[in-house]
Symmetry: C2
Subunit: 245 residues, 2 copies
């Protein structure tokens, strides 16, 4: 019974998130329905991470088992034929060992968060970036972000619904770049708490606006209390970029 690993891009705008749920469309369910159409069997597709409603992916990874042995390239093509015209595309498929696990074997996860930073509302970036009209100072944000790099108790940046056993995580990188009126925040870590990226971006935005200082971020982190952190940045700016195994 071969196990397949697939890499998936999607526009999360019109989905309730990755995770299958009652009465709402999900990426996981769309993939499982597509798989049923060409495999004629029910499969469980397990993702590397559960993206929230409105969150996108450039390279989500998932695995599944099937009784059929198919050429990986044909798997990819079959998924895409049946996913059409939905904004979900399988970029790659490969056969992996029986014990490969998309979630538990992930060594490093990468996210990108996009802010559209200009006075005028978005047009081409509707649902693709968080619109912040106050000018943001990248250098201030980059400097304050250093406070959060490394191993910390991230309770301040953790959603109430987070199911992780511990709030202690090691954040490897926050890199901030401006491209015209877009600001990209690049994050990497072995794993993240629920809403950790969005809560950090919401906090750094306060610094970028000049409302908060680096010391406020230090205080917020040390408080270990969600109420001490900044607001949660909008879902539409978040992209699950890639996973290294």
């Amino acid at each position: 019974m071969p196990r397949y690993k697939i890499t998936i891009e999607y526009d999360g705008t019109n989905y309730a998130g990755w995770q299958q749920q009652k009465d709402a469309p999900s990426i996981q369910e769309e993939l499982q329905q597509a798989a049923f159409k060409f495999l004629a069997e029910d499969v469980l597709i397990t993702g590397a991470g559960r993206t929230d409603a409105g969150v996108h992916a450039l390279g989500q990874v998932a695995h599944f088992d099937t009784a059929k042995t198919l050429d990986p390239f044909r798997i990819c093509q079959a998924f895409n034929a049946h996913l059409r015209p939905q904004p979900i595309s399988v970029l790659n498929a490969e056969i992996v060992s029986d014990d490969f696990h998309a979630r538990f074997d992930a060594k490093k996860r990468f996210y990108v968060y996009k802010i559209l930073n200009r006075r005028s509302r978005p047009a081409l970036n509707i649902n693709r970036a968080w619109w912040v009209h106050q000018p943001l100072d990248i250098e201030r944000m980059q400097d304050a972000a250093q406070v959060l790099i490394g191993k910390h108790d991230f309770s301040t940046f953790r959603a109430a619904a987070c199911q992780a056993k511990s709030p202690i995580k090691t954040l490897d990188e926050i890199r901030i770049e401006r491209y015209g009126d877009l600001i990209f925040f690049y994050f990497s870590a072995r794993s993240f708490l629920h809403h950790q990226v969005r809560n950090i971006v919401g906090t750094l935005k306060l610094v970028g606006e000049g409302v908060w200082t680096k010391q406020n971020v230090i205080n917020a982190l040390e408080a270990k209390d969600r109420k001490a952190g900044g607001p949660t940045a909008a879902a539409e700016g978040l992209y699950f970029e890639k996973i290294i195994y």
Copy 2:
């Protein structure tokens, strides 16, 4: 009676194009309707160029006259308040001299054309790029593109419906860059023929695939006949980037 110059970004996917027309939504009409809501007068909004159905703009420019004198920043805000939630955004507004003309005064126009070049169908780039699944060789395309730089009779790359008096145009630049699985073609010229960019991209794609050589492009140009050129690239890959006056 002040004249205003506005700069506009839009997602052209669900519009019949820039130009106002019966029974179909257009960018021009949406802007004119928004203007009527805050100016309480009918205005004619004249664009620098007429984009086709499905074509986008990062910085289209237009002008209009109104009996009212309003602060340009408030004009911008008022447009955007009334355009919401449509994917049209006024990025800038300024008062210009009475004889400024968005179309006739343009010194240089810039377009970007985006190809998504990969095996898998688009997800995040649905309606935002032309999907070409055969691998394209950028160096071959860049080399062949040199044939088209400069002053030529571009009849081979001109739509039948083109209203320009002459097929002779001077193309200043074609620059081709790859960013991951996207290929961007940057074009600049004082003015373009109808479909000129899309017909050139459709022709360069044949070169990138290895179907055509540079000599085929030379022959096509010299034929001065639309039938000698490559296919018209899809509208959804084209972006009207900016205009210099």
